[in-house]
């Protein structure tokens, strides 16, 4: 993708460095007997190479590279101002990169027809306040050019999914911020998109709403959609994401599954009584250990070795009264990563 390209792309050419994609030409979303754009599942959902974005003197993205596989829930984490929203807008063609390139669903980022297969909840979610929720959803069905015969099911399904079934005929202007965010989520779900991009999807939601969003995300994963979850809420990412990339100052500083990111190591606290001296000598093979009254703390133990540790203690005649795994949290690792920068 050339940095000089218009933000509004109709027939983009493949950029150098893009992963190859094969398969038949995708067909229209909602047209029987043809595949919607983005259903060629051989290419990654998102593939970005050395993306740069500069706003005058401010560097928003500084060589961001990442790959999001099809069908995964991908967490895009970073502190405020790290460049997360810029990256999302770039993937959707709302802004242009000043360097590098990105492919989304096998097409250059911003490709107009590919956007038919992308659902998007913006960080700044605002919808036409003079329309009803149902009308907003119909508007997006029109803009997506979904087959008219599908509108009713799509709209009612979206309203039900986001918990607005009984407010469908109310004007958006009467909605609370949380309800508007729910509506935005419903808009993003229309047309069974192959990729759903959620930019801080729970920022205005109460705990019930946040739980609902997690359920919706899991539902999307179950039907094979890719979810790109942009968030600074680590708990949110930890709960639903298969994989995360941590971004800071416009660069990816870490990427992987939760286990990979936290090093696959854990700590465990055990309350053990009745052990002989031989036991204590064998502890070194599990990790660093220390004691605190009746409690034994073993740090740096591989997560899969905790049952072995317990079995060894029991085998030597110990009484294991409590086992408290203490896996390094994503938050610890997150702070560690940012501290390293």
């Amino acid at each position: 993708m050339s940095p000089a390209r218009s933000a509004d792309q109709d027939a983009p050419a493949a950029g150098a460095g893009a992963p190859p994609a094969t398969g038949g030409a995708p067909g229209p979303a909602g047209t029987p007997g043809s595949d919607p754009p983005g259903t060629d599942r051989t290419s990654p959902a998102v593939h970005a190479i050395e993306l740069h974005k500069r706003y005058r003197t401010t560097v928003a993205l500084d060589g961001l590279s990442m790959t999001v596989a099809r069908g995964e829930v991908f967490g895009f984490l970073g502190p405020n101002g790290a460049g997360k929203t810029t990256a999302v807008k770039l993937l959707l063609g709302l802004v242009r990169p000043t360097g590098g390139e990105a492919m989304v669903l096998g097409a250059p980022a911003g490709d107009r027809e590919t956007r038919r297969s992308i659902g998007y909840l913006p960080e700044q979610f605002r919808y036409q306040s003079w329309l009803t929720a149902r009308e907003v959803l119909v508007l997006h069905c029109r803009l997506m050019r979904l087959d008219r015969s599908r509108w009713r099911d799509e709209v009612e399904g979206a309203l039900r999914t986001v918990g607005l079934a009984d407010r469908g005929d109310d004007r958006v202007g009467t909605f609370s911020k949380g309800m508007q965010q729910r509506l935005g989520l419903g808009v993003a779900l229309l047309g069974e998109p192959a990729l759903v991009v959620l930019d801080e999807p729970t920022s205005a939601l109460d705990p019930v709403g946040r739980h609902d969003v997690r359920v919706i995300i899991r539902g999307l994963r179950d039907r094979g959609a890719t979810v790109f979850l942009n968030t600074h809420l680590l708990e949110e990412a930890e709960t639903v994401c298969d994989r995360v990339t941590v971004i800071d100052r416009g660069r990816a500083v870490a990427s992987g599954t939760m286990a990979e990111l936290t090093g696959g190591q854990a700590s465990v606290r055990l309350r053990i009584t009745g052990l002989s001296g031989r036991w204590w000598q064998s502890l070194e093979r599990f990790g660093r250990w220390s004691t605190d009254r009746d409690w034994l703390l073993v740090e740096g133990i591989a997560a899969g070795q905790i049952p072995d540790l317990v079995a060894a203690a029991v085998g030597l005649g110990g009484r294991v009264e409590a086992v408290v795994p203490q896996r390094q949290s994503l938050e610890d690792r997150f702070l560690e990563l940012l501290g390293e920068q």
Partner: protein, 295 residues
């Protein structure tokens, strides 16, 4: 890599028409149309009363010839007021059309859909221009009928008048919409109003230049009328508001000197062609500007 050759779903319409319909719905639901109806009814009612008084209750010593001369003058002044409303309304409704929706975030969800930016802009233009056309047609028709009913004065050529007024408003609408793709709402609106005022003043200066033989003023006015053709188009409306005997009388008595509400000739075909080119260029500039705008 694969490229998408995608047919659209059945029963769908162009996104530009969808946006145009949305724009009109917004005007209706935000009571903009209602406000126009109320204000127009009030002003047309006032003009009916005024024309009735003028036609049937002129003071002692006023001849019917003087009244007949006053009728077109008054009608032109009323229509100038309506042209002012059309132009300022065009500026007011166009200025937030893009920038306001970018600021609020409403446009982000729309622009992320498989819609060309050009379709969004043209859809907005279509919707707003449709509203402007409807308003102009209603107001010109109403005034024409009401003045005839209240005073017996039948103004000439109402259709070209409405067309010129609409064209004047459409020029300003297009300019402000293009500005709205880059400037904040307030700035785009203020510039639109200022440009309209400057163009009108340019016309007055040209009239004075012609009337008093000052070539520099006439040239400056001509330049302004080509840079912003709103006043040139207003002059077209003025010409078609004037009965032929009124034009002759003004020329014979040399009352036309320095009169900004008088036009001896209609705009030339060349000028109208230029206004058309100007409009296309401005709309094109808006499309390109919005296409390159980062959201």
């Amino acid at each position: 890599m694969t490229t998408s050759t995608v047919a659209v779903g059945r029963g769908t319409v162009s996104p530009a028409l969808t946006i145009a319909a949305l724009t009109i719905t917004e005007a209706l639901r935000r009571r903009l149309v209602l406000a126009f109806i109320v204000i127009t009814a009030a002003v047309v009612g006032l003009s009916a009363w005024g024309f009735n008084r003028l036609a049937h209750h002129a003071g002692p010593g006023i001849t019917s010839g003087e009244v007949n001369l006053a009728m077109p003058t008054s009608y032109i002044l009323f229509m100038f007021m309506f042209s002012f409303v059309v132009a300022l309304s065009a500026s007011a409704i166009a200025s937030p059309a893009i920038s306001g929706e970018i600021d609020s975030g409403v446009l982000h969800a729309v622009a992320a859909r498989p819609v060309r930016r050009a379709e969004i802009l043209l859809g907005k233009w279509l919707g707003l221009a449709g509203l402007l056309a409807a308003y102009t047609a209603v107001v010109c028709g109403l005034e024409y009928v009401v003045v005839y009913w209240s005073s017996g004065y039948l103004a000439p050529d109402p259709v070209p008048v409405a067309a010129y007024l609409f064209a004047e408003g459409a020029v300003l609408l297009t300019l402000v919409l293009a500005l709205s793709t880059r400037l904040p709402t307030l700035a785009a609106g203020v510039i639109g109003v200022a440009v309209f005022g400057i163009a009108w003043l340019g016309g007055v200066v040209g009239t004075l230049g012609t009337g008093f033989g000052v070539t520099a003023l006439t040239t400056a006015s001509k330049v302004v009328s080509y840079v912003v053709p709103t006043n040139g188009l207003w002059q077209g409306a003025v010409y078609y508001l004037e009965p032929q005997n009124y034009i002759i009388q003004q020329l014979v008595t040399q009352n036309d000197k320095g009169d900004p509400f008088f036009a001896a000739t209609a705009p030339s075909a060349g000028y109208l062609a230029w206004a058309g080119v100007w409009f296309v260029l401005m709309l094109g500039a808006g499309v390109i500007s919005f296409g390159r705008r980062e959201l």
